[in-house]
Amino acid sequence: MDVSQYLDIFLDESKEHLQNLNTQVLALEQDSENMDTINEIFRAAHTFKGMAGTMGYKRMQNLTHDMENVFSEVRNGNLKVNGAMIDVLFQCLDALEEYITNIQDSADEGENDNEPLISALNGLLDGKDEAPKQEKVVESKEAPTPEVKEEPADGKWNSINFNNDEQKALDNAISSGKNIYGLTVVVQDSCLLKAARAFLVFKAIEELGEIIAATPSVQDIEDEKFEFDFSLIVGSEADAGKVQAAVKSVSEIADCIIAPFQVAGETVEEAVVETTEVANVTTEPVKKAAKEESSSANKSQEKKSGSKPQVNRTVRVDIEKLDVLMNLVSELIIAKNSLVSSATAGNKESGGTFNEQIEYLESVTTNLHESVMKVRMVPIESVVNKFPRMIRDLAKKLDKPMELYMSGEETELDRTVVDEIGDPLMHLLRNSADHGLETPDVRISRGKPEVGSIYLDAYQDGNNVVIEVRDDGNGIDIEAVRNKAIERGVVTEEQAMALEEDEVIQLLFSAGFSTAKVVSDVSGRGVGLDVVKSKIEALSGEVEVKTKLGEGTTFIIRLPLTLAIIQALMVVVGDEKYAISLGSIQTIEDISPADIKTVQSKEVINLRGTVIPIIRLDEILDCKSTRDPNENMVAAIVKKGDKLAGLIVDELIGQQEIVIKSMGKYINKCKFISGATILGDGEIALILDANALI
């Protein structure tokens, strides 16, 4: 069976599961008793195994299979979670990631069998007998049906716990003299429509008798939430062979194991007793576990709809967003039709209605644009949720206890931006962990808590998304940076001494700069910050640093919400048209030439108490202003961070939605032109990057 067409989906989903596993194992490390977490891990490992198996990735399947075994034992309470287990699990996840990377690159999982890991996992399993013996005794006292666990796959039906309805159905079937069979159906692992096959199996069985109970539940089977086998309790008048033959007649069914079901109250009753008793003793966890089992499937479904990490250039779209789009498109068609009809109706009454139609059309297209933009938006969650794991590993490696606090993971950004933002953020976090945070003894001597804190906060601010990476570490030592810059030959000594603090900090972003005294493999090669800066600038964003020696450092990344379409103010300078992003414009002011003062030979105005430098665009853009210099001037006050500037233009045209077009690499020399746009009449207007002007 050719599965290559499912490769994308497979990669997509396995990354999602991997991320989920990482998060959960991390949570497990914090709270090793949490049944929810354990179940979630078990479920994810199980699904992983199934997926890898379907795709024919045997090594991956083996590894996940062993992981699943370990968790199955943990879930049954036979094995205790400990530090060693967590470490092995993380190694397994890394190995899985490697498989996935290999698959992504070459559609092949690679040759690494990860034998040591598998034996480590088995070691964990073997170890179970010695360590938690105590508990096992206790448990077997409470649950006198240990054979359930030892039962091979073909006896799975014995693990079915009957609910009231099922119990009634079972009793009815027995009293009406039917044979009760336990049945395990194994679907071929190449089967793609498992649910459909299961449905056919159900149909075949129902012709001969009735299905009393199933594991997983019938609902789950229909929703394809099972791996390759499911078990049923069937009541039928027909003999076992006939039932088996009926099931096997369904195509793509690999095997069907059938045996008479021990109706004798004991097994069943005991099983029921077991669950209730255990539930009574340890109440919450088990109940939760049971609930979790049924709800986890739903949960995963929910999570999927919230567009998580993806491969290639796909975006998972919330169906609701698509519905909105669809509605808007139908409105667009209606608008078009009304336009057509008002045009054909002649001039009779057109004037008014025509304008109304145009307005209607305008509002529809604006909404349409917004919705399409939203479709391209994904939460940054997909990149940031790998960071807790990274910080954990760093904490171990650097031997500095630290904690990562994240907020605003749901903040949405354009897909292209989200793809690119991961690396810069990782650099900054590593930077904070390695250079920012002090060693524990230094922290204690400074009266700080031993455990260092790193914060990653994301939030939307107007047309921008701001991501802050903050630590409560040492802060940037301005003098050390100054000296290092001289040493590295980035600046000369005189230059360095003349630099303001802000400017010194900017030196950190120059190529080949690192203040770490020792080069570690965490950071310190000095490639970090300049890469961060160039990457973020390539996304039309900017980085800002705030630091206080001894108290910590904050890196503030500001990114545009979207790259494709913006609201802009169209202006005229000389005889050329330019667009300025509306997001950066604060106000429009009318300035009399008399108000312009000079400070340090730079022109400024005093605007309601704030001194703002002015920039004459005609000079910057090498074109001649058509305005009389003695007349009042129009200034667009633009803002970058907390800096303001007034851009003097000749004329305002108005606000307009513009589509940003790249001008290609041959002509990107001009740093304050961020692109071009095509106006309604086909003319090109250049887009001024106000950030680069300030």
Binding site: L621, C623, K661, M663, G664, I667, K669, I678, I684, L686
Partner: protein, 147 residues
């Protein structure tokens, strides 16, 4: 780039012959995306003088370069024969302004004479092709498009 002549020895390549000043230049047809009439060019500030600005080519914004200025000749005089040759290389488009477009010729790369008369760095010619109509300087687009 496919401009290593030695590897293309037996290839016959089609060139579009254009006039710039009094000379004929050949542009490898494989890199030509389009030929359009002169149209209004939007100036881009603070770029090299030979980059004349950008044009709107069916919704795409494409930079336009003056070959004359790049070669140190007089600035272009726009006539009804002036054309912009749209070159597409490595997924990047750029327009070259030429005085006029003459014809398409087949040139056997075997018979191309490599230019040996100068090793000047600003040489944009990779060889001279001979045709009935005279000599055609074959443009080295990589050199032309380099800054």
């Amino acid at each position: 780039m496919a401009y290593d002549i030695s590897t293309n020895v037996n290839d016959i390549i089609q060139f579009i012959v254009v006039n710039i000043g009094n000379e004929q230049y050949g542009i490898d047809i494989n890199y030509i995306d389009n030929i359009v009439r002169m149209q209004s060019i939007t100036r881009v500030p603070k770029v090299s003088p030979y980059l004349r600005g950008v044009i709107n080519l069916r919704g795409e914004v494409i930079p336009v370069m003056s070959l004359r200025i790049k070669m140190g000749l007089e600035p272009d005089e726009v006539t009804k024969n002036t054309r912009i040759i749209i070159i597409k290389m490595n997924h990047e488009s750029i327009g070259l302004i030429v005085d006029s477009v003459k014809e398409v010729v087949n040139i056997n790369m075997n018979e191309v004479e490599k230019v040996s008369f100068d090793n000047r760095e600003d040489s944009f010619v990779m060889g001279i092709g001979k045709q009935d109509a005279g000599l055609i300087s074959l443009l080295d687009l990589v050199a032309v498009l380099q800054e």
